[in-house]
């Protein structure tokens, strides 16, 4: 801490013309998909409280070490010149400056997952033993599994990164997607999640179903999704996106569980044939696993109950209600 104050006291302050900044993230900055308005308004009111830090290279190129957002806000405010601490001759290594940036950000705001990924990947590049210190795992409040996922996020196309930041793809879903070996397959999954705006539960189901189906059929995820069922579903103008999402999962489930969904259909057909009134319901246990079936009667009073029971006694076809696989069962 003492060293830090001393070093900042001794740093030269330079004025950099706005047109010298390239506004790429460079080696140190890690801002991704942020709202600049609050910072711009703050600077408009009270000015820049902490000066950005830069280094300058031979030839005049400037690299921002810390303060990328501040400089961007100043640019929006049409400020032509920025006062910065110049770290060029400070003796600090790139790793020191990366840490400076990380700590500058960590204690002033919450990093999103893309930013965490950028930080962790850069740290790994500088870490001699290719291991990230436990310090950063705890700073980000992540476990080792999430660490692995975050490290891989940086490899995704830019467009998909925005979906992750905007919280439309969960970290758990990403973890499962990264368990798919083929990069193209991973991107296909993410694109479908994105275009059908699957919710977090649907994302996990989708990844599991599509992965299992492709393995079972010894084909690629891409090929499974080329199936006409999915194309027609996606092109169906009568369905909105949530309906398409549900249809997608329904179709995948039917492909992955042909027997179970077949039994469900047979059971539903048998019950429908009974043409029961709305207050009487017959249902099967989840996956037909528990023994027996359920009959529910909703009634207003004792007469209503008696009427329903009398009615049931006269219903034809009740004897057909039972295990839907019965005809296939061993004799």
């Amino acid at each position: 801490m003492i060293n830090y104050i001393k070093s900042e006291d001794n740093l030269p302050i330079v004025k950099i013309s706005m047109d010298k900044f390239k506004f790429n993230r460079g080696k140190f900055c890690m801002s991704f998909d942020f709202d600049i308005d609050p910072l711009r308004n703050s600077i408009k009111k009270v000015g820049v409280i902490n000066k950005p830090k830069i280094i300058s290279y031979d030839g005049g190129d400037i690299e921002i070490v810390a303060g990328y957002r501040r400089i961007l806000a100043l640019k929006e405010l049409k400020i032509n010149e920025v006062s910065c601490f110049n770290l060029s001759n400070s003796g600090k290594t790139d790793f020191d400056m990366l840490l400076m940036n990380i700590h500058d950000n960590l204690h002033t705001r919450k990093l999103n997952n893309i930013e965490k990924s950028m930080v962790l990947n850069r740290l790994i590049n500088y870490s001699k033993d290719k291991q990230i210190g436990k310090e950063f795992i705890s700073l980000f409040a992540i476990n080792e599994r999430e660490l692995e996922t975050l490290l891989k996020i940086d490899t995704l196309p830019e467009g998909l990164k925005y979906s992750i930041v905007r919280n439309s793809i969960s970290l758990k879903a990403l973890e499962n997607i990264f368990s798919i070996d083929n990069e193209k397959e991973r991107i296909t999954c993410l694109e479908w999640i994105n275009k059908l705006k699957l919710n977090f539960n649907q994302q996990l189901q989708f990844i599991e179903y599509i992965n299992d189906i492709s393995r079972l059929n010894k084909t690629t995820i891409h090929r499974v999704l080329l199936d006409n069922d999915f194309k027609e579903m996606y092109d169906d103008k009568k369905k909105n996106t949530p309906q398409k999402a549900r249809k997608l999962l329904h179709t995948l489930r039917e492909k992955l569980f042909p027997n179970l969904t077949g039994y469900e259909r047979i059971f539903a057909r048998r019950v429908n044939k009974l043409q029961l009134p709305g207050n009487i319901k017959i249902s099967h246990p989840r996956y037909f696993e528990a023994e027996g079936y359920k009959l529910e009667i909703e009634f207003k009073n004792n007469h209503d109950l008696k009427d329903s029971i009398d009615y049931l006694g006269k219903v034809k076809g009740l004897e057909n209600i039972g295990d839907p696989w019965e005809k296939d069962q061993l004799k």
Binding site: E144, R145, E148, S179, D212, N259, L260, E289, Q329
Partner: protein, 364 residues
């Protein structure tokens, strides 16, 4: 068994036990390191799938050595007691639940077992009316490391004086020779997990073939031991009926059904967390290529009619071979499945315990 031990970890506190020096002697020149006691935290969290099956870790176990098999209320459990001699297994079966069950790697051997036998004995003696069916093959293979632990003889000698208990040593290996030197055979069941030759060769990596197992079982029967068999996990695969029939053909070739105390069956089931581990550790496996539903205990299972079909078929094969029911039972199945596949049911877990206890009584 093909797995080699390449390293020994000696955890703090293990040095005081005789078994530690015995094991070190038996393992010869294998390098070893002294290790601190591990914290409770998972070591296999994250995405590390290396289970360190080439490492032995010697440690004193601080928990209860004798515990009931973790059954659930939803299915009928056999009431078996697990004697915890160690965890993890040098074999590498793709479907093995231990891959997800334990959060610490290495083949872990509990070197304080001998010292704990007194306590275990007191538990057994405190309920003389009860039959204690005890097994060591739940969290590890009972014989896979026996050449270095000697547990089979240690425990068999212990059980000799416990007249209300029976010890089942369950294995997939053929490493059984040590036990033939025992002076008695009473209340010791040597049992094998069996599977179709296809499943053995594709999924039970490093384990001997079915025929080798059955030859070992034949030798045990000839040496006067009672045997048991476990068709678990039954796995659907192409021509599964024909492939399981091959096992019965081999049983017919090598075994005397009169010397079999029980044969259990159980279709593959696994906690959902095991699936990604199987996918990662065994990418060529076919054990997941089926319709799995979540059972009443939260584990993934085949659909009910599939399980009924498999049990019904294999029961038919077994009874057709033996000419009677040689103690067939189902592992963790419902009363309904029992009735529909075996044509009878013990009704509940105490009922199954009674059935198996009676099998024990009929042998000893």
């Amino acid at each position: 068994m093909k797995q080699k031990i390449n390293h020994i970890e000696i955890e703090d506190g293990s040095q005081d036990y005789q078994l530690t020096s015995d094991i070190l002697k038996r393992l010869g020149d294998i390098p070893f390191t002294a290790e601190e006691e591990e914290a409770g935290k998972d070591q296999l969290q994250g995405t590390s799938f290396d289970l360190h099956k080439d490492r032995v870790r010697l440690l004193p176990f601080k928990g209860e050595f004798l515990k009931p098999c973790p059954g659930t209320k939803s299915y009928i459990c056999c009431g078996y007691l697990i004697l915890n001699t160690g965890t993890n297994c040098p074999l590498d079966c793709s479907y093995c639940i231990l891959q997800a069950y334990f959060n610490k790697p290495s083949l872990r051997i509990f070197v304080n077992l001998e010292d704990e036998l007194g306590n275990i004995g007191r538990i057994i003696d405190s309920s003389p009316e009860r039959i204690f069916r005890i097994g060591t093959g739940e969290f590890t293979d009972s014989f896979a490391l026996d050449r270095i632990t000697g547990f089979s003889t240690l425990l068999s000698e212990f059980i000799a004086s416990k007249k209300n208990s029976v010890l089942e040593l369950k294995t997939k290996t053929t490493e059984i020779d040590r036990i033939f030197g025992l002076g008695h055979r009473d209340r010791i069941v040597i049992s094998w997990s069996l599977n179709s030759p296809y499943i053995v060769s594709h999924e039970e990596h490093l384990a001997p073939s079915v025929e080798q197992r059955l030859k070992a079982a034949k030798k045990c029967q000839e040496e006067g031991f009672v045997t048991g068999f476990h068709f678990d996990p039954l796995i659907i695969h192409k021509n599964w009926k024909g492939n399981y029939r091959k096992v019965l053909d081999l049983m017919d070739k090598y075994l005397d059904p009169e010397k079999i105390i029980w044969i259990s069956m159980g279709c593959i089931r696994f906690v959902p967390a095991l699936k990604p581990i199987i996918r990662k550790r065994h990418p060529k496996t076919t054990v997941l290529d089926a319709e799995f539903i979540q059972g009443l205990d939260g584990k993934m299972r085949y659909l009910k009619p599939v399980r009924i079909d498999m049990y019904y078929y294999i029961r038919g094969l077994i009874e057709g071979w033996a000419g009677y029911n040689p103690g067939i039972y189902l592992c963790m199945e419902s009363d309904e499945i029992w009735r529909k596949s075996l044509k009878w049911s013990p009704g509940n877990s105490p009922g199954l315990s009674d059935y198996l206890d009676n099998r024990v009584k009929s042998f000893w």
